[in-house]
């Protein structure tokens, strides 16, 4: 058993190192452009989410869409929020069941991202390697315990 596990371990480590830094989740970021809010959506392999459906929710009525629209060819979408209505907004970008929701605070002046990540390639590879090592370590633990019994 040990030999197949070692071979698979080597295969997985090589695969982790060689694979591109990104999966097919979605990453949505937003920033101020003047008074407007600009939202940019991409799959996290970098492919823009063009023609994705965008729904904007105001913090004053979070279950009712305040604005709907589509991203452009580059996955961009801009809108002018009504600051008198709320300073908190949610924007959902959705395409074929993929997408993300970002929370916007108009009191913030920084670029923000949704849950999609923002990790560097090195971080991604290191994190993947750590998880894979955890799985492989578990396998070795049980394999060696069985041999001792």
């Amino acid at each position: 058993m040990r030999s197949p596990i070692a071979s698979i371990t080597l295969f997985l480590v090589l695969l982790t190192g060689a694979s591109p830094a990104g999966a097919h989740g979605a990453r949505v970021i937003w920033e101020f452009r003047g008074d407007s809010v600009f939202v940019s959506a991409a799959f996290d392999d970098g492919m823009p989410m063009d023609s994705a459906q965008v729904t904007v929710f105001s913090g004053a009525a979070p279950s009712e869409p305040w604005l709907t629209g589509f991203t452009d060819d580059r996955g961009g979408f801009a809108f002018l929020p009504d600051r008198s209505e709320s300073s908190n907004w949610d924007v959902q970008v959705r395409k074929a069941g993929h997408g993300d929701i970002v929370h916007l605070s108009l009191e913030s002046d920084t670029v923000n991202s949704g849950s999609g990540g923002g990790l560097s390639a090195l971080q991604t590879v290191l994190m993947s390697a750590c998880v894979v090592w955890g799985f492989i370590g578990t396998a070795f633990f049980f394999a060696s315990r069985r041999k001792r019994v």
Binding site: G25, R94, A96, I101, A139
Partner: protein
């Protein structure tokens, strides 16, 4: 294939967790009943969970989305009942580390992918034993192919049934169907891969294939 947070209504997410809890319990009980020494199969499950975790990083752009290997069929034929909890653990780490999938949708994603692994295993077992290299190759191919297509069909069905009223249903529907269709090449590739792996294991170490319930 991984449904992210915010895409499904709360009731569907809760139902997904309930179904996943039930299937996990059944799977673990069945595995305990089958193996006197579970350490043998736990070590195998850990390695396969790592493979499932890593496989989602190989992405192939097939517009409108990018697709990745799923390995549900391979998980099924190598792990049997334990394929479901192994996929659940791998999906948890994918969501926790990279936001791939989501925590609220973990139950639903486990059901679509883990359930497909169990069904693919059922297809593999349906082939008569002793049918030789060709039979194992065919059974492995069907299991690998079905693992992907069943997961794609289940994911698409859930997404189609839960399209929110505030999005254009025709556009979303077309996107979801295109997403499902873009998994056909993946299913064919995984079918070939799973068939070859099944044949290799049958020659080298038949004990690693779960051919009985």
């Amino acid at each position: 294939m991984h449904i992210p947070d915010g895409m499904l209504p709360g009731e569907v997410c809760l139902a997904g967790f309930a179904g996943t809890a039930a299937l996990t319990w059944i799977s673990v009980k069945q595995a305990e009943k089958k193996y006197r020494d579970t350490s043998r199969v736990i070590s195998r499950a850990s390695v396969m969970a790592a493979a499932f975790f890593v496989a989602s990083w190989i992405h192939i752009p097939l517009p409108p989305v990018s697709v990745h290997p799923i390995l549900a069929g391979l998980m099924g034929i190598v792990l049997g009942w334990l394929s479901f909890p192994a996929i659940l653990v791998a999906l948890f780490f994918q969501a926790a580390m990279f936001g791939h999938g989501g925590f609220t949708t973990l139950g639903v994603n486990s059901l679509t992918m883990g359930g497909s692994a169990l069904l693919a295993w059922g297809i593999f077992r349906a082939f008569p034993r002793g049918s030789g290299d060709k039979g194992v190759l065919q059974a492995g191919f069907l299991a690998g192919f079905a693992g992907v297509m069943l997961a794609a069909a289940a994911t698409s069905a859930i997404l189609l049934l839960t399209i929110p009223s505030y999005v254009d249903p025709s556009i979303e529907r077309a996107g979801i169907l295109a997403m499902a269709g873009s998994h056909i090449p993946v299913a064919l590739a995984e079918g070939v891969f799973t068939g070859l792996v099944a044949r290799l294991l049958m020659r080298l170490n038949p004990g690693m294939l779960e051919q009985s319930g």
